[in-house]
């Protein structure tokens, strides 16, 4: 910084400290107001927030979800340990859950399907012609004879036997759709689990999966999440206390974190946003930034006191003045990187991005202003709070850093860095978009939800659905043999993919009806010969049923229909392969009278999310890097600076991506914000070190000495924050939510690499390459500092 700017900043802080009571009061008042607002922020998951805006699949899902089944489906499996399900006690449970689901909040009462519902019916020929009637509604079978009839009806119907009753007859499925409008996941979850618990036992096992249940579990663990959050904060305090051994070193960083959090949450309320429990780790990450800024200021303050600053206020001003530039740079660069996430057109990411940006900017007040102001209240030279002194350990580490830079070891470090960068950069390409494992990546593989999911997928065709709309060009298109045959061929084509457990459409139903009409001769289990015959068959199936029963397959005009595909998992790769295959099929087998529209249901929506993230990840990373480069270039008026600061970021990126690829953590809607935030985060420590070096050079032109000194002052701040944060972030690994544990670990890794590169790699690079923006050049030499700074 130019001396002129220095004095302006100094003057500003001096003024602030002179009016410190007013400053504190103003901030306190604002915090109180924000606190009131923040206490009203809702913590919940809104499914529609996950859906990309303006994506064609999402448009199809929104248009057709009420008829063909949306993405909020719950599947409940009732499995017997012995024998088969055809026992009165078991069927009674099926009926009880089916009826009980009607009462659950936000359930779509027209989309509850089980063998005990009115929806599952059979078509049979009788003396009065052909009739279609529910197989087990409203009454359960009475006596063995009726039970045998039911069993036969199930076995004889491929629409039931397979999709709703397992091939070994040991399990049956109940599915229910939920309206996504204002579903309260916790409430629905409680009610569903109540039904499940009631039915479980007596030789019957009940399994339940589906997005509403998944989010129910997430909410269920909310208390634990909050506990971990506070435990992490507590551990922060303890470690800070341990290392700094002073009250101001402990309380002020915490204060910075708390003020920032309150302001951010209050702002979220003002913007009308809510907080998703899954991104609480992101909140912690930003809090960590606030704390880190504050710790730097305090560490510098302590140095000033140690070097003989006369008053606390003078030391505070000196600290603020000297760290103003790297702190501002860190805040602006971080905020820019987080703001870039908003470009990904998913409402949840946009909201996180806006909240995060406000949060980071609030650090300006909570740490940059409040920490020096508050520091001025403390008396200098107070004794230590406890006798345990860790400082020698820190000094040893920092001396080791200096040792690396000043000896030939620096070349070794640089060489290793180069190799690690290349190898991890290559391996990072294995990073997958979308979920990388079966089951839900949010929960641990051994969680009861994921166990249930794997049990259901073992017995049935798959619990995750995607529907592809067959949109006829005019009414009656779905009765045309050409269209129906194309649908049947399409299903066959899609089922070749092993993860597709099965599929269902109108093209499966009509042959069953036709077979019944033809004396039950399976050689006639085919589509009708012409539109007229197909129309008759449809009529046979619909007659006697409620209006809307057919909607699952086709609308009343036979204009739009759906092919529903059942997936055994929703891994990114499974979904991408399926979507590509749909497109391949449509391209190779065009039909005149209808179009295939992708895609609805959970898998359809996830396909859209994954596509957006796949397209957006390069954009997000490239633009975040660009923000960083531009910030640094402008700040240091040097393009070389931009490139220089990319080094630690690229390194932490490639290593973290490699770690994600190695651990099977996919790049998805939950991990993307952490990744983008990490780009800003990865560079902050380097800012402090580099600025420290530059500042030393103001006083002394010896580069080596400047590096060593910077490492011992700014380096200590980096070390303290890194140690504190890595330890407390580690607490997240105890979370029952795998996502949070993974993210915690990821962040810890990120912090470690950033700290490591700031302490070992970057100083070595400065030493070896002597970039002009740090060490100066003949054309633009480093401005010498004026003698002793003005003291207030």
């Amino acid at each position: 910084m130019k001396n002129e700017t220095f004095s302006k900043v100094e003057h500003a802080f001096a003024t602030l400290i002179r009016h410190r009571t007013w400053v504190v009061l103003a901030v306190a008042l604002l915090t109180a107001v924000m606190g009131y607002l923040a206490s009203h922020v809702e913590v919940k998951t809104v499914f529609s927030d996950l859906l990309p805006k303006n994506h064609p699949y999402v448009a199809v899902n929104q248009q057709f979800k009420s008829t063909f089944g949306g993405s909020n489906m719950v599947s409940i499996m009732i499995e017997v340990k012995e024998g088969d399900i055809f026992k009165p006690s078991v069927l009674a449970k099926v009926q009880k859950i089916t009826v009980g689901l009607q009462q659950v909040d936000s359930v779509d009462t027209y989309q509850i399907i089980s063998i005990a519902s009115k929806k599952i019916k059979e078509v049979r020929a009788s003396t009065e012609g052909v009739e279609s009637r529910p197989i087990m509604w409203p009454e359960l079978p009475k006596g063995p004879a009726e039970m045998a009839v039911l069993k036969e009806a199930v076995l004889n119907n491929p629409l039931i036997y397979g999709p709703y009753v397992s091939m070994d007859l040991k399990a049956t499925l109940i599915t229910a759709d939920f309206l996504d409008g204002d579903i309260n996941y916790s409430k629905a979850f409680e009610q569903i689990m109540g039904l499940v618990k009631e039915a479980d036992g007596d030789g019957v096992m009940v399994r339940v999966v589906g997005e509403p249940v998944l989010y129910g579990w997430v909410n269920y663990y909310l208390d634990e999440t909050i506990q971990i959050f506070f435990a992490a904060i507590a551990s922060l305090v303890i470690i800070l206390m341990l290392i700094t051994r002073t009250w101001h070193g402990t309380v002020l960083p915490l204060l910075a974190g708390v003020i920032s959090a309150i302001w951010a949450l209050g702002a979220a309320k003002l913007m009308g946003f809510h907080l998703d429990p899954l991104v609480i780790v992101v909140a912690f990450l930003i809090t960590a930034q606030a704390i880190s800024n504050s710790v730097q200021l305090i560490s510098r303050y302590d140095d000033e006191i140690a070097h003989g600053a006369t008053t606390s206020a003078a030391a505070a001003v000196a600290s603020a003045k000297n760290l103003f530039k790297p702190s501002m740079l860190a805040i602006v660069a971080d905020a820019g990187c987080v703001l870039v996430v908003a470009l990904t057109p998913i409402p949840m990411l946009e909201k996180i991005s806006y909240i995060g940006t406000v949060w980071i900017f609030s650090i300006f007040v909570s740490a940059l202003i409040m920490t020096p102001v508050m520091l001025s209240f403390f008396k200098p030279g107070q004794g230590f709070v406890h006798p345990l002194n860790i400082r020698p350990v820190l000094e040893t580490i920092l001396r080791a850093c200096a040792g690396v830079v000043t000896t030939r070891l620096r070349y070794v470090v640089l060489a290793i860095t180069g190799v690690v960068f290349v190898v991890s950069g290559w391996y990072a390409f294995n990073l997958k978009v979308g979920d990388a494992n079966p089951g839900s990546p949010i929960l641990w593989p051994d969680s009861s939800y994921n166990q249930d999911a794997s049990d259901i997928n073992r017995q049935f065709q798959g619990s995750d659905r995607m529907f592809v709309v067959v949109a006829g060009k005019e009414k009656g298109a779905l009765r045309e043999p050409e269209v129906l045959q194309s649908m049947a061929n399409f299903q066959r084509y899609m089922e070749a993919q092993p993860e597709v457990g099965g599929s269902i459409s109108l093209a499966d139903i009509l042959p069953q009806v036709r077979r019944v009409l033809r004396e039950g001769n399976p050689m006639y289990a085919e589509l009708g010969n012409d539109a007229g015959e197909n129309s008759e068959l449809t009529y046979m199936f619909v007659s006697g049923s409620d209006p809307g029963d057919m909607d699952r397959y086709a609308d009343a005009d036979a204009k739009n229909g759906a092919v529903t595909l059942f997936f055994r998992d929703h891994q990114g790769e499974t979904i991408r392969t399926a979507v590509a295959r749909v497109q391949d099929y449509v391209a190779q087998n065009p039909i005149e009278k209808a179009d295939y529209l992708l895609a609805g249901g959970l898998v359809g929506v996830l396909a859209a999310v994954n596509e957006v993230i796949l397209a957006g990840q390069i954009e997000a990373i490239a633009l975040a890097l660009l923000v960083l480069v531009v910030c640094c270039t402008v700040t240091y008026r040097s393009t070389v600076a931009g490139v220089f600061f990319m080094i630690p970021v690229m390194l932490s990126n490639t290593i973290t991506f490699s770690y994600m690829a190695w651990q099977g953590i996919g790049m998805n809607i939950n991990t993307l914000p952490v990744v983008a935030l990490g780009i800003g985060l990865g560079v902050d420590y380097t800012f402090y070190i580099v600025d420290g070096i530059r500042e030393e050079l103001h006083h002394n032109p010896n580069v080596e000495r400047a590096i060593v000194k910077a490492l011992s002052s700014a380096g200590r701040g980096v070390l303290v924050t890194a140690l504190t944060l890595i330890t407390s972030v580690g607490l997240w690994s105890f979370s029952s939510l795998r996502l949070q544990a993974d993210m915690g670990l990821l962040i810890a890794l990120w912090l470690f690499i950033s700290a490591f590169s700031a302490l070992f790699i970057m100083p070595a690079i400065v030493y070896v390459f002597r970039p002009a923006f740090i060490v100066g050049s003949k054309q633009r030499p480093i401005e010498r500092a004026e003698e002793p700074a003005v003291v207030v």
């Binding site: 089922e495 392969t577 397209a615 390069i618 954009e619 270039t633 490139v643 070896v768």
Partner: protein, 336 residues
């Protein structure tokens, strides 16, 4: 390091300057370009469909030798096994119609028949299937089964379709006038032949199929299959468990009391006993005299419908809702 370059003079320094000033611009440009124009391309896994897919129904199966078997079914699917049913491979047929019948002369020559009058033949073991010349009329021309007797192929179908081919499936001619009655199965022993179909009809010929006479029967239930173990003794099966037995070459038929209400769709004499298969996995068997009939299942727990059973050595192939191989009482479903 850079200061060491001074030794090389101003030229080197200029070069370094050029690099350090252009590299950042190149990187920023690259990032801008990547941010706005580079879109990640997903790598898509290739999926190879299996020879036998879950969705497949097989309406017919034939075994020209002990190791070779052929099956035909939905969507123009033809599969063949050369190792006694252990592995199957798909053969490409130029049709998407459901194929209802398959028959083979030998390992090289075979014929399939199906919906809309589709008949395909092969002369190279199935490497290529070609369309035969088939007379068609304005009804759906649905053909059910095709059988070969003394080198002559016979196909039966809806609306009284009875077609024959003497050139291994290349050309076909009508052997009977059409009428509104479906023929479901045919069997020949020398010049004697029997034809069964809708409404419980049985027709008989004694001149190799030139003229046919109808038997007067009480049974009005559609008959689905017919087979003879010699010139005199034969059995016909039909819907809702119908079983008819003759011991006078088809002149008269007596009804066996029904053992099941399930449809029986095929009957075969396997040199030891009579075997009939049908809906929901039922299997009805009897001794040679066709007097002691027993109801059983193809395999316990298997409830698939079966349209045909074919024997090869001590192994049976069953077609239907799926394709199965029955060996030593153990049923293996192909593709599961």
């Amino acid at each position: 390091m850079l200061h060491q370059l001074k030794r090389f003079g101003s030229g080197a320094r200029a070069a370094v300057n050029v690099v350090t000033s252009t590299l950042p611009i190149a990187i920023i440009g690259g990032l801008l370009y990547a941010g706005f124009f580079v879109k990640a391309e997903a790598v898509i896994n290739k999926v190879e469909p299996k020879a036998v897919e879950r969705r497949d129904n097989f309406f017919s199966v034939t075994a020209p030798s002990e190791q070779i078997a052929w099956a035909a079914g939905t969507g123009g699917k033809i599969v063949r096994s050369d190792d006694g049913g252990k592995t199957w491979h798909r053969q490409v047929a130029p049709t998407y119609e459901n194929l209802q019948g398959i028959a083979a002369w030998d390992a090289q020559h075979a014929v399939v028949a199906g919906n809309h009058g589709v008949i395909l033949y092969t002369a190279d073991g199935g490497s290529s299937w070609k369309a035969g010349q088939v007379p068609k009329s304005d009804n759906p021309n649905k053909l059910f089964r095709v059988h070969i007797f003394d080198g002559v192929a016979w196909a039966v179908g809806e609306f009284g379709s009875l077609l024959r081919s003497e050139d291994k499936g290349v050309t076909w001619t009508r052997a009977m006038e059409e009428k509104d009655r479906a023929w479901n199965d045919i069997y020949f022993r020398g010049q004697n032949g029997w034809l069964v179909g809708e409404f419980g009809t049985v027709m008989r010929t004694t001149d190799g199929g030139a003229t046919w006479t109808e038997n007067e029967l009480e049974n009005k239930v559609s008959l689905m299959g017919v087979d003879f173990r010699d010139d005199q003794n034969g059995v016909a099966v039909g819907l809702t468990g119908t079983l008819l037995v003759t011991s006078d070459g088809g002149a008269s038929w007596r009804e066996v009391p029904r053992l099941t209400r399930e449809h029986l769709l095929d009957i075969a004499w396997d040199e030891n006993r009579w075997v009939a298969v049908g809906d929901k996995g039922v299997m009805v068997t009897s001794d040679a005299a066709a007097s002691e009939w027993k109801l059983g299942r193809i395999s316990e727990g298997d409830v698939s419908w079966r349209t045909q059973i074919a024997r090869a050595g001590n192994r049976y192939y069953v077609s239907g809702a799926n394709l199965g191989v029955l060996e030593g009482g153990k049923l293996t479903i192909v593709g599961r």
